[in-house]
Symmetry: C2
Subunit: 493 residues, 2 copies
């Protein structure tokens, strides 16, 4: 989930000034508009220690009119609060209709800290998350707009920032009770954070995750997200016509995505490839039967760019598995019957029985990829799909299904080369359509969609594998090895 | 929760025929209209064994056009189902847009049975309920209308029906796996049912509870509820103009409510009253201090008819408690500031610290009483208030607060007597307003609102006490005794 938040998104100082000016004006307008409306805006600023939650809140206060903002921190626990039900402190800080309330440290602080410190068990944590969800639903049912920002920084950045012992830092209280105790618990914190985000991500109050390495990027992006949510809630669609590139990128140029982290130079040749292929396929053959004996299913999802080599990679997998044990299902536009049901319905119905493999050539991720980019799904529909998908996949995993998800990545140049090759080879011409060329024009939009998809759905229980696809042999072996490793470690020896 | 479902609601055979004819026509129209719409209707029929779930479903199939209804039962577990994630069986049975799917036995069967049989622990049960809620939210987010009916019968009726060993009964499968095992577990079943209903009652898919003693009443009421929900979802408000008396009662006359079960003849006189009063007040004085020492708060809610004697009853309580230990808060129309917040906000903020008492003279129940009847709150608002209130009260109780809720009941005649007495007594005239006379005209509407309020919010953790108020002395003692008993048993001796 968080690997996509360490790709180096940043904004230059000069760009920041330009962006800030526009943003500020629009935020003020939105705030003025809000004053006359009958709902409040509740902004939760959460995330890792040292990610700059405090500075962001300061920036927001500077940009907007502080007369109609109240900032609430909960790092000092008064005995007034302690002697009442836990949520009393939040209730009394709720903004009135027409106002903005910023919560720095919020109902998320306690479960995060308690779970990291292992003072709270798994069940208590889960029930607490349910309570948060009820609370937020109660607010949004009443009309409130709840915006939740999660700020992430890398391990190294956190270390550096927390070691900054300059005097003003020392005297500055942090939202956490045990500020420096988290040092050394970075990985545990991420684990808990992921659980917390997954359990409280909902259609009515979704999380927004953002990379907070660069403070310019952090502040501008947070501001844009808040603005967009406020406009959307007020019934004013953001002006940005498709293509849906974030307003910021019109000034800064495209920001890096998680796909930039894939090393496309990786290659495998000749004998080495053939040896590995043979070895992996033999191993996978055995694992297929072993899974059958142990009644463990495998579900594998294949997504990727057009011409990324999905089909041929899948064939390398299916050849290794007894045809009685798997079903390969392909998805393009839904049928009439499928369209008459929930979008997940057609994927549920293809699920094979315990002990079998189901390979999905394209999948439920179409909702947040093609349906998002081509606007077949409304923003609210694809935005809530992340949590729907996470819950769907959790059900699979909890049933004992071994889940694999592959995005096969190639460069834009490599795609062009392959398209042209298809055009010029008689028996491959049918594989190339006008749609393929059209999709290519939306490359960056798809990149953004993939980035967010990985960020929101690469979870501990169902991680994505980003496959380096410029070399087809390398991609196939990467996929096969992932299959063997994942299935192998899930089965009893 | 269920005591309101044993008050003897029924419909005569002749009325049934008349009601059935109208209802059938309107249901068919609604079904025809649905066929052209882009969402499905999902009807869950749940409740106690022997309540007639099967017969109701049969009746619904008879009334409506079975070509567009699918009835799903899950009493036979196929190995196809067992070898896939649990919800797969429901997914594959979901109706298409424009269709109705009836679920007889559903996602509620498993947790209910497992919890009654104690095969499922408290935490697993809670997490399962959360899964149900997510599933239903996913459906309703996609547009589906989810109608959930809970059928209740009394212990005696269940005994009688389950002992009916006539041959057609024996060969008829029941939705339950262990049909007759529940015999003798009636109370445990109710306990679990209440937990299940509370945990899965939500603004997007609320429960409807109905008394199923009389099959005519059961079927007509279920049909009316379904019709009303379908019309509402289709954007067609039910024709019924205020006063909001259920369509059925226009034919049958007023049905009994839970208030009919209050014995208004109860009385207390002279010395017996004074003795008890003194005794209770002395006891309560000590309990107040003991609660303070043990840092346990008391929250007491007083509701009741105009002139029921709320004020004077409260005074009998407050006189017994040290003024440093309690606060009495009165609620009428909200202030501007209160109106600018969620309706629960003004009650949250009055909550006193641990060890203190807060007495609410009128309370958050205004939402489902006066605001409902006078239409200050929209139907969606007061309907979702039941679950909001239950969750609010659960937070109080989980914090350790001792919660008491009183509805002081008097007869309509007694009220008139008291109104006239006020009119004719100079120092009491200010207590009588035109509003009081106006509210009186809506007596039955208020009765219905109280009935539903008690049914939906009288829970194991926060039960209602219905006070027999025609005799003021009796009412005061009943309240004081309830105070002493409840606080006494909650505190450590």
């Amino acid at each position: 989930m968080f690997e996509t938040l360490e790709v180096g998104k940043q904004i230059k100082g000069s760009d920041f000034n330009e962006l800030q000016q526009q943003l500020r004006e629009r935020l003020l307008m939105a705030q003025l508009d809000l004053a006359g409306r009958d709902y409040p805006v509740i902004i939760v600023v959460a995330g890792l220690d040292g990610a700059g939650k405090g500075s962001l809140v300061q920036q927001l206060n500077e940009w907007m009119d502080p007369r109609w903002i109240e900032t609430n921190t909960f790092w000092e626990h008064s005995d007034e609060e302690e002697s009442r039900p836990y949520f009393w402190r939040f209730w009394r800080s709720l903004p009135a209709r027409g106002q903005i309330g910023i919560f720095l440290g919020s109902w998320y602080t306690r479960p995060a800290q308690a779970a990291v410190g292992e003072e709270m068990g798994q069940e208590e944590f889960a029930l607490y998350c349910k309570q948060i969800e009820s609370f937020e639903r109660l607010l949004t049912d009443d009309g409130a707009l709840v915006i939740k920002l999660w700020l992430h920084i890398s391990h190294d950045t956190q270390q550096a920032r927390l070691q900054d012992d300059s005097p003003h830092r020392k005297s500055m209280p942090r939202s956490s009770d045990h500020p420096y105790e988290l040092r050394g618990k970075y990985n545990r914190t991420l684990e808990v954070s992921e659980q917390l985000i997954l359990a409280t991500d909902s259609s009515h109050s979704p999380w927004q995750l953002l990379e907070a390495e660069d403070r310019y990027y952090r502040d501008i992006t947070a501001g844009e997200l808040i603005l967009e949510a406020m406009l959307y809630r007020a019934g004013k669609e953001p002006a940005a016509a498709p293509p849906h590139i974030p307003a910021t990128e019109l000034v800064t140029g495209p920001q890096p995505t998680v796909l930039n982290s894939v090393d496309l130079a990786l290659d495998l040749k000749g004998d080495e490839y053939r040896e590995k292929l043979e070895h992996c396929q033999a191993q996978l053959r055995d694992l297929g039967w072993l899974a059958y004996q142990q009644k463990r299913s495998v579900v594998a999802v294949f997504e990727g760019w057009d011409a990324a080599g999905k089909g041929s990679a899948i064939r390398r997998v299916t050849r290794a598995i007894d045809p009685r044990l798997f079903r390969l299902v392909q998805f393009s536009a839904p049928t009439d019957e499928e369209r008459a049901h929930h979008y997940l319905w057609r994927f549920w119905r293809q699920l094979q029985r315990d002990g079998r493999c189901t390979f999905y050539d394209r999948s439920w991720y179409g909702r947040v990829l093609v349906e998002r980019v081509e606007q077949f799904a409304a923003p609210a529909e694809w935005q809530r799909a992340y949590s729907e998908i996470n819950r769907f996949e959790r059900q699979l995993v909890e049933h004992g299904i071994i889940l694999l998800k592959f995005w096969i990545h190639i460069s834009k140049e490599e795609q062009e080369k392959r398209f042209l090759a298809r055009q010029n080879t008689a028996h491959k011409q049918h594989k190339l359509t006008d749609d393929d060329w059209r999709n290519r024009e939306k490359w960056h939009e798809y990149e953004l969609a993939v980035d967010q998809m990985v960020s929101r759905t690469s979870t501990h229980h169902a991680p994505w594998t980003l496959v380096a696809g410029n070399s087809k042999p390398y991609a196939r072996i990467q996929i096969l090895e992932t299959f063997c490793r994942t299935i192998g470690s899930a089965l009893e020896a």
